[in-house]
Symmetry: none
Subunit: 292 residues, 2 copies
DNA sequence: TCGGCGCGTGAAAGTAAGTTTCATGCGTGG
DNA sequence: CCACGCATGAAACTTACTTTCACGCGCCGA
């Protein structure tokens, strides 16, 4: 591990160096990134000295040779770069923002939603849910609006590894299907706010049939908690409608991903096989190379 | 300004590289810091290829030569703060992993996909796309399989702020609809691999009608680039099917989010109003309090 | 004042690293 | 089955880096 502070070290022993080496050292300290870009001849010329002296300088600071100096300088210079800059955490995009700012702000918030969701996700609850999913003969997933995408995604994932899972975009269909669940089956309801009536209804029915009910929401104390045996929570802070709730979507998908991997891990070989088979199935739809 | 994400860029270009170059690329991506320390001969040997190929690889990723690669890699490696504990970056979940580990690994990779995507996203391309979206009288979005969710999400977002946008899950429907596009309209194709035949066909038709075509893919040098006026790239490293491609989904959604915010920002007041109206529309579907 | 001594220095020789060129062989499409 | 083109490594070549060596300058003692 390169002990940090090569630049610091150099400026420390600057006075101990010979005049010609000092000229080199000063250039290096003044702009490490620039020095890293130069060739030895180039740097020697800039310091009004010979290549030999540059090498001597490298040895003086304890390095093998010039290439080593270059990469150390590049590394050091990179480390120095201040972390991006003040992003309005969870805040709105300022009106005059340029696109780079927009991207940075969104990415920051999105990534944070994912990370914070993972942090607060309860492994034990996850495990219990995975257990239930594994034991279930049938799985129903329901979500309305934006959460419907996530429900659908989850359904597809489970299906791909050979689990019987359903997602009905239509509440009526969902209610009908859920009414056929029994003990040992699982119903999952997804609702960011935890107050989506339709989702509650679906879980309600599922529960009354003896199925295990699972809620995925951002608000653990919301009504959905009352109809769920297990509550999984996301941690998206979105307050405004600014970003069309993408952060919460990402958080939900992350949770779904965790559950999916958990289920797949229970039967590694079979899941892997299933994934390969399904991947193979769409291969013919791919074109081989760039077209003329 | 060292444009960020060389590693990210390399993994994006991976499939476009020749086999021998891919071997080099994989070594570089696997351990950038180590690669930076090696001499070109050394690296070539490790990749079981010749120095010439290493040079070709450097050129392929847009660098002058090998020394430049070394420096960039050193810089990149330094900037990268190693994840707290040993998480197999982009790797598989170890068989005996407990749920806390699974969650940590997934969240780490998911969050990284979002961040790295943002880093390498070209603001100018985004801007151009937003411009086109704003000017369009009609927008068509198409994606197959998992990318279909993202297409659908985008369609819904645009629709919510009053833009005329379509998403047809069926290729035939999509082709038909796209055939009716004209100059000034926009077609967006989403394909993680960039090789999905159906998506290419859709963009092809759109282009032939004079519409502006946009591609969203993880691999900028894939066939989809040939039929797109603007190429937006994600930066997900997923190699295995482990997580059912969630990371790439998140990356795509992030890009979509950026575009959406960009479009909305052009007409702030109107967009805000539209969002409020649509939010209000589903309010009646929400339950007020926890139910006894 | 002069002669040696040693250190800093750059020129030049020498070596290693990086780059270009080219011939081969393999796979693809006609 | 042939022709073409592309990927590839061997070898020639160039550039960068390293070592060697001799010069010169300043210091010291005679």
């Amino acid at each position: 591990m390169p002990e940090p502070g090569l630049i610091v070290q150099i400026s420390g022993l600057l006075p101990a160096l010979s005049p010609a080496e000092q000229r080199v050292a000063r250039l290096v300290v003044a702009d490490p990134a620039d020095a890293a870009r130069r060739t030895i001849t180039d740097l020697a010329t800039a310091a009004e000295t010979s290549e030999a002296t540059v090498i001597r300088f490298c040895r003086s600071v304890g390095l093998e040779g010039y290439p080593q100096l270059r990469i150390r300088l590049a590394a050091e210079a990179a480390r120095r770069v201040e972390p991006p800059d003040a992003r309005v955490v969870g805040g709105d995009i300022p009106p005059g923002a340029d696109f780079a700012q927009i991207i940075a702000t969104i990415a920051f918030n999105d990534a944070r939603a994912v990370e914070e969701t993972a942090q607060q996700l309860d492994p034990e609850v996850c495990e219990a849910v995975v257990e239930a999913l594994n034991a279930a003969t049938r799985i129903e997933i329901y979500g309305a609006g934006a959460s419907g995408f996530v429900a659908s995604d989850f359904q597809q994932k489970l299906h791909r590894i050979g689990r019987t899972a359903y997602y009905w975009p239509d509440v009526h269909a969902a209610l009908t299907s859920v009414a056929l669940l029994g003990k040992g089956d699982v119903a999952i309801g997804i609702s960011h706010t935890g107050t989506t009536g339709d989702v509650l209804d679906v879980l309600d029915v599922a529960r009354s049939r003896g199925a295990t009910t699972v809620a995925l929401t951002n608000f653990p104390r919301s009504p959905i908690a009352d109809v769920a045996d297990h509550v999984l929570t996301t941690a998206a802070r979105e307050t405004t409608y600014r970003s069309g709730a993408t952060a919460s979507r990402l958080a939900q998908l992350t949770v779904v991903d965790c559950l999916f991997v958990g289920v797949a891990a229970r039967n590694r070989a079979k899941a892997r096989k299933a994934l390969e088979v399904t991947a193979e199935a769409v291969r013919s739809r791919r074109v081989a190379r760039r077209r003329g």
